[in-house]
């Protein structure tokens, strides 16, 4: 297709899609209405199970099966990245050279790292109580470790980051979610049923299986993000391309 034809077809397609959207939006319920059938039911169910954070109750209890799928998407993406960014036969590795780091950045990093790590773990642990949870906290934890790369250098990051261990953590987090689901079956109820005692509202141990599933996701996400970033860092810093496909494709 010539550029002009391509743009013409694109314009026609986008115009039609826009028209479809605008007419559909005119038929939507109006903003600020009082009719929230799902929201009302979800909040009620969340309070019944003594989970203070309704979003977590939806994610890990009411629609926990979606979260299993979403966690698996991340798990599959990381595995796919490991496979696609593997060292090809015609590629060599070299040791990365350390670069100079300004002293102020170094001091900031050393202060920010433990604080960020703590915030990440707090966000995971309080997923059933306050906004946040395993997905958000996991990313914060993984980010904290990478402050070491910014503040010191790559070898320092490598020392606190035994990749094999994080790959196992990724798999354990995924497996733990699946197995916690089976626990519901073994207890005679449904898959992913919340079979633990619900505890006292607004305390760390409330919500039954919600904190456990939340922790499984936290472990999986933190490990997955570390492995994911590691693959890209290795590709950028250590691997020198052969004459293979990556450069042609780039």
């Amino acid at each position: 297709m010539s550029r002009r034809v391509r743009m013409g077809v694109l314009a026609a397609g986008l115009l039609a899609t826009a028209a479809l959207f605008v007419t559909a939006f005119l038929d939507m319920p109006h903003f600020g209405g009082a009719w929230h059938p799902y929201g009302d039911r979800a909040v009620q169910a969340s309070v019944n199970r003594r989970t203070a954070n309704t979003v977590s109750a939806v994610n890990f209890d009411q629609r926990g099966f979606d979260t299993l799928g979403e966690e698996s998407i991340l798990f599959a993406s990381v595995l796919g990245t490991v496979v696609l960014l593997r060292q090809a036969r015609d590629e060599r590795t070299r040791a990365p050279r350390p670069g100079p780091v300004p002293a102020a950045l170094r001091r900031y990093g050393l202060v920010a790292l433990p604080a960020t790590l703590l915030i990440g773990l707090y966000v995971i642990a309080h997923g059933q109580l306050s906004p946040g949870g395993g997905f958000q906290g996991g990313v914060v934890v993984a980010t904290a470790l990478h402050l070491l790369y910014i503040a010191v250098d790559y070898p320092a990051l490598e020392r606190i980051r035994p990749l094999g261990l994080y790959e196992v953590g990724d798999a354990v987090g995924e497996a733990a979610y699946v197995v916690l689901g089976v626990a519901g079956l073994l207890a005679g109820s449904a898959y992913l049923a919340n079979v633990l005692p619900f505890g006292t509202f607004n305390t760390l141990s409330s919500g039954g299986t919600v904190p456990l599933l939340n922790a499984a996701v936290g472990l999986e996400v933190a490990s997955a993000v570390v492995v994911l970033l590691a693959r890209f860092l290795v590709q950028a810093l250590e691997i020198e391309g052969g004459d293979g496909g990556k450069e042609q494709a780039a």
Partner: protein, 592 residues
């Protein structure tokens, strides 16, 4: 027993986690055995549940209260569970087929390939059994993510990465469209379950723009997966570069799941009084189906890269599935189901045989391989049998499915016979060139569809690899059994009657009503259907014979069509956007 339904997703996920977690310390043979075992267990579970009839499972125990639930429902009706079983059996076959297939697994990740295949299985099984729109989107994305990674598996070359990128871009766009559509339905009804959304729409029928837009957008994603024209461009590019066992899964069942998704959402959500009028849906499926079938067949005939040729034949057969759905009756849907089953066996077997060729000769190019398959008679026979199965020779399942799907309009059999004859004839032509060395070696000047590929396997095998041949043979036997076992056709008929019953589905899911399947006429061979099957097989043979003798005009007429398949990702994205407009126009077309 119903509560074990989520395990068809959980077992492969657990297997994948095990393979990734312990993969570093696992010898390759253990990793591949674990993969096969998990896939086979899931297949067994799906078959046991299927034998018991319909399984409904509210995950987390959130059964509906006054017809409403905050949870997710999995609905393993016969069609859903049948697809989960088909997926699992095919995954098992693929894992056996790819036993030691790749030269070396990624260093320290012996389990990576079987783990990806298991994740793919989990995504497809989840998509097949879910009764929830958002959950369907989640598993749609899981299938997609794994599909992109598996397509780009051979990173040493540039083209797999490009093919995977095209696949990724177009499918992600489709996914976003579906998600927007689900959002619109949620805004209107406050529900996400298919049965619940359907009931809410029917409770206050308002055929307005929102319902139409939701229908178009949700279907866009599924039709991208199904590779319907004009969303089909990613499919041949991905198939040409993906490892052969992955092609078996993509063509054998993933693309068909796109058709299933479109049909499922249509029948459960939009087929009632509050949905989209039947004649509009019929027009949509018919126009898209016929266009897809003809474009796929025309492009299929032009290819000499055998995997690309088979990919375009998948496109054209998907078109026929859509045409079959257009009628919307239980009989035509049962035809589509049988057709999908037979097609999965035949197409996977053809890809499996192509993998043997690639393994032996390091090429899948029809011209380069000319006469080089003379010493592989067994593979040649498999190829020829697969070609006749595609062409719809009775008693293959494909032929029975076609016979049931086409008898609804006087001119439909023409499309079915033509498309089957051209796609089957193209494969027969390849068989004659490669395995018989018939005719002269074709010219080698059309650069666009050349098929030189690096071999994917360990080293050129000097003996024919037995497991690969055995898998191909078994798959063809399966395709034959689909059309030859009356009990199976009867079951499929009952499955299709339940599948097309809009109110019945909601009653099963929400009211727990488990009546026996409504009785109906048993679908079986008719003299007309068998005759048309024989006719298309004969035409396919004739076309192949003419092509070998060079008695057919060259493909200059198709140059504009071939130019559209440019390999330019931007073009594909543009066509996807245009496709949304096309779907809206087809649904809203003013009638008479």
């Amino acid at each position: 027993m119903d509560r074990f339904l989520p395990l068809v997703v959980a077992v492969p996920l657990l297997g994948a986690a095990l393979l990734v977690g312990a993969g570093r310390r696992m010898p390759r043979i253990v990793a591949e055995s674990v993969g096969c075992l998990c896939a086979a267990c899931t297949a067994g579970l799906a078959l046991v549940l299927l034998a018991r009839g319909t399984a409904v499972s509210w995950v987390g125990g959130w059964e509906p209260y006054h017809g409403h639930s905050v949870g997710i429902v999995l609905v393993g009706d016969r069609v859903g569970l049948g697809l989960a079983a088909l997926t699992s059996l095919l995954v098992t076959a693929v894992l056996v087929y790819s036993w030691h297939y790749f030269d070396e697994p990624p260093r320290g990740h012996a389990g990576a390939y079987p783990a990806l295949v298991l994740l793919f299985q989990a995504g497809m099984c989840g998509f097949a059994v879910t009764g929830d729109l958002f959950d369907a989107f989640v598993f749609f994305e899981l299938m997609g993510v794994v599909g992109y990674a598996l397509t780009g598996y051979r990173v040493e070359e540039a083209r797999p990465v490009q093919g995977a990128l095209a696949f990724g871009f177009v499918n992600s766009l489709g996914g976003y469209a579906s998600l927007l559509g689900v959002g619109l339905l949620y805004a209107r009804t406050g529900e996400l379950g298919m049965a619940q959304v359907g009931r809410q729409l029917d409770a206050a029928p308002r055929r307005d723009a929102l319902v139409v837009a939701a229908f178009v957008l949700v279907l866009t994603g599924f039709l991208v997966k199904a590779a319907a024209v004009p969303f089909h461009f990613w499919l041949p590019d991905a198939h040409a570069v993906a490892p052969t066992p992955v092609c078996m899964l993509l063509s054998g069942v993933m693309v068909e799941l796109g058709v299933y998704g479109a049909a499922r959402v249509h029948f459960t959500v939009f087929a009632g009084p509050g949905g989209v009028p039947a004649e509009d849906v019929r027009r949509l499926f018919l126009v898209l189906g016929v266009a897809t079938a003809l474009v796929g067949a025309a492009m299929c005939w032009q290819q000499r890269h055998v995997k690309r040729l088979l990919a375009f034949s998948t496109v054209s057969h998907t078109g026929l599935f859509l045409v079959g759905l257009a009628a919307g009756t239980a009989e035509s849907v049962s035809g589509v189901c049988l057709y999908v089953l037979g097609h999965a066996g035949a197409k996977a077997a053809l890809f499996a045989s192509t993998g043997v060729l690639l393994d032996r000769h390091g090429s899948v190019d029809e011209c380069e391989l000319h006469g080089r398959g003379r010493d592989m008679r067994g593979v040649g026979v498999l190829f020829a049998v697969g070609a006749f199965a595609l062409a719809g020779l009775p008693p293959f399942g494909t032929a029975l499915g076609k016979a049931l799907a086409e008898e609804h309009s006087p001119w439909l059999p023409v499309v079915f016979v033509l498309v089957s004859a051209v796609t089957g004839g193209a494969v027969l032509r390849v068989t004659a060139h490669v395995f018989l060395g018939a005719g002269q070696a074709p010219r080698t000047t059309q650069p666009e569809t050349r098929g030189d590929e690096e071999p994917e396997t360990e080293e050129p095998a000097w003996r024919l690899p037995r497991p690969m041949i055995a898998v191909a043979g078994l798959l063809l036997a399966g395709a034959l059994a689909v059309g030859a076992v009356p009990a199976l056709a009867e079951e499929v008929g009952a499955a299709a009657r339940a599948f097309t019953d809009h109110a019945g589905y909601a009653a099963v899911v929400l009211d727990g009503r488990r009546g026996a399947a409504p009785p109906g006429p048993a679908a079986w061979w008719t003299p007309t259907g068998a005759g048309l099957g024989l006719l298309s097989a004969a035409l396919a043979t004739g076309l192949a014979a003419l092509a070998v003798r060079r008695a057919l005009p060259t493909g200059r007429w198709s140059a504009p069509l071939r130019r559209l398949h440019s390999g330019h990702v931007g073009d594909y994205v543009v066509w996807t956007a245009a496709g949304i407009g096309l779907l809206s126009a087809l649904v809203l077309w003013p009638v008479g």
